[in-house]
């Protein structure tokens, strides 16, 4: 039995025990009221302000947001990768373990073993002075007791798993000898070294060409099917989320503003921010020289969030009611959003379409 067969067996074994009786697989990660603040020069930066979600076994959650939305900070909080000046509160349970407030020693045992992360820039996340094989065996060695030969074999298995061509030869190569796509595969191999339950892909394909991105995403989807890994993908690309995620969470100003299964969210957009995002993406099918629908303003300053809804200053639907912060509630089955004046709800117009050019405010 090869290692790969073993891994697939493990996956199906996990699956068998993972269901809690219903159709939904059991949650592997439950995040409740996660908050992260930084203190800097007398100002408090509220990077994450109450995040709630559940990640189920074998599923993909996409966390979407622009810069400054807090999406990267929130996952780094899970892994304890924030600087000491960050204050994390709330709860994040991985199985039985509470991640918030976990001491460094216990966190190190979990990092890479049960949760692993793939970063955006493979050029900078790989050590340029070590060959790639060594970097993978190092990752293996951190959580498993294998002798050198066994570790090397496992490393080669992993490289084959991530479809690195000519794996045995590549073992000896250095990161600079590989293309961007290949480096990212190495990163994924390192992340999967100990068959983690959760894989976090933080803008993992943003720096890649579109053809390479397609390959890597297909690889991740395939690996998820085989290994049963749950994936959190952080991105700003709605198209990517629509194609690969089971559930989508949209963040703005450190909070989740809309949360729903992917199919529902994109066909029945409710949050004006999400709608604005959708409307401002150029489409392959529209005629040239059209104008995109835009909204003015800038993302909020996390050190001085506006009163009430963070999107209020830029929202086309805003009213005085928005000075009271709307709570993230499940207005429709499976579809949560935080808005007093959602788009298209209750027969107000259907789904998202961006066909009005708005007056531009500079940002």
């Amino acid at each position: 039995m090869t290692t790969q067969d073993r891994m697939i067996d493990l996956a199906s074994a996990d699956d068998a025990t993972a269901h809690d009786g219903g159709d939904e697989p059991a949650p592997v990660l439950t995040v409740q009221d996660l908050r992260v603040t930084f203190s800097r020069g007398g100002r408090t930066i509220r990077a994450v302000n109450g995040l709630n979600y559940q990640l189920r076994a074998g599923r993909t959650l996409a966390i979407i947001g622009e810069s400054g939305s807090g999406k990267s900070v929130s996952v780094r909080a899970l892994l304890g990768l924030l600087p000491p000046s960050a204050f994390v509160s709330g709860s994040a349970r991985l199985g039985q373990t509470e991640l918030v407030g976990l001491n460094e020693k216990a966190m190190r045992a979990i990092r890479g073993d049960e949760i692993a992360m793939v970063f955006q820039d493979p050029a900078r996340s790989l050590n340029p002075t070590m060959n790639v094989g060594q970097q993978i065996t190092e990752a293996i060695g951190m959580h498993q007791r294998l002798d050198k030969k066994a570790a090397t074999d496992r490393a080669v298995e992993l490289m084959k798993l991530v479809r690195l061509p000519a794996a045995e030869r590549r073992f000896e190569e250095y990161p600079h000898q590989l293309s961007g796509g290949m480096r990212q595969r190495v990163m994924i191999a390192i992340a999967l070294a100990s068959d983690p339950k959760v894989l976090i892909a933080d803008e993992a394909t943003t720096a890649l060409d579109v053809t390479t991105q397609a390959q890597i995403m297909e690889l991740l989807a395939d690996l998820q099917d085989r290994l049963g890994t749950s994936v959190i993908m952080i991105s700003h690309d709605l198209g990517l989320a629509a194609c690969y995620a089971d559930e989508v969470l949209v963040m703005y100003g450190g909070k989740a503003v809309e949360q729903a299964p992917a199919a529902t969210l994109f066909s029945h957009v409710r949050m004006p921010y999400t709608k604005a995002l959708l409307g401002s993406i150029p489409q392959l099918t529209t005629p040239s020289h059209g104008l995109l629908s835009v909204i003015g303003g800038q993302p909020p300053d996390l050190a001085s969030l506006p009163q009430g809804c963070a999107f209020r200053p830029r929202c086309p639907n805003a009213s005085d009611q928005c000075l009271t912060e709307p709570a993230l509630t499940e207005h429709e089955p499976g579809h949560r959003y935080a808005c007093w004046h959602p788009v298209g709800a209750a027969g107000a117009g259907g789904s998202a379409d961006g066909d009005r050019a708005r007056v531009e405010e500079v940002s």
């Binding site: 203190s39 020069g41 930066i45 810069s67 400054g68 000491p84 800038q298 300053d301 996390l302």
Partner: protein, 298 residues
Amino acid sequence: MAVTDASAATALAATETEPAETERGIRWARIRRRLLLWVPGGFVLLLFATCFLGPVVLPLPSPVGGDVLSSALPPGSPGHPLGTDINGNDVLSRLLHGGRASLIVGVSVNLIGLLVGGSIGAISAYLGGRPDTLIMRILDVFIAFPSLVLTIAIAQVLGPSLPNTILALTAFSIPAVARVSRSATFRVVNMPFVQAAELSGSPTWRILLRHIAPNIVPQMMNFAMLGMGMIIVTEGALSFLGLGIPPPAPSWGNMIFDGQQSLSAAPLMVLWPSLALLVTVLSFNLLGENARDEMSGR
């Protein structure tokens, strides 16, 4: 990848450079940084004031032409707060005048080095290609010489005097500054805004002056401050070897030279100028390190 303002990201980046964890810690770190800038800075100012204004303002006896009868007086003697040396000259006066000489040398060499060396390096990097290679090979010849040997050789040929000392020291300052200026310029010259300036029709001299120069000045100032200490010490070495400021004019270097001859009898003769040298070099170094950060707005 988006470049727009990301408060969280900047917070992340910023807090990673400061060890402060609490509000108070952050305030204290800022105070400490200010102190590190103003204390050595203040001292340097004090130094200049003392050495240049002191002899004018204070009623000190002349540093030369002392009376042999009042030689080797101990510190605290009336009219001679630090005593006199074996020739009867007032030590304090010699210290201050010597400081003046050393500082003049330091500042002059630095200025010449910055202007000439800085320009050579920046122009060389901007032109690139063959002209750059040519200039660098010429400079390499100078850099290849052990700096002290080169300086001594030149001083030997020119003869000991204040202007000659300055000249000799620039031989080793200019290539060093040129190197730093060249690498600093390379970093700037590849930035799109330089290319945009060319597209805007700005002539080369204006690009060098208004685009390149302002962006390499912080680094150059830092280098200059650090170099100040080195130059004064080298001047001291030259004088120590008899090649620098000719006696009886004092400089810290030749005071140490004279002092070492009577080390067992009057150890303080070496101590005063050495101490002065130490404190000066330390202040310039500290100032240089912290001034650069302040100038770059970090």
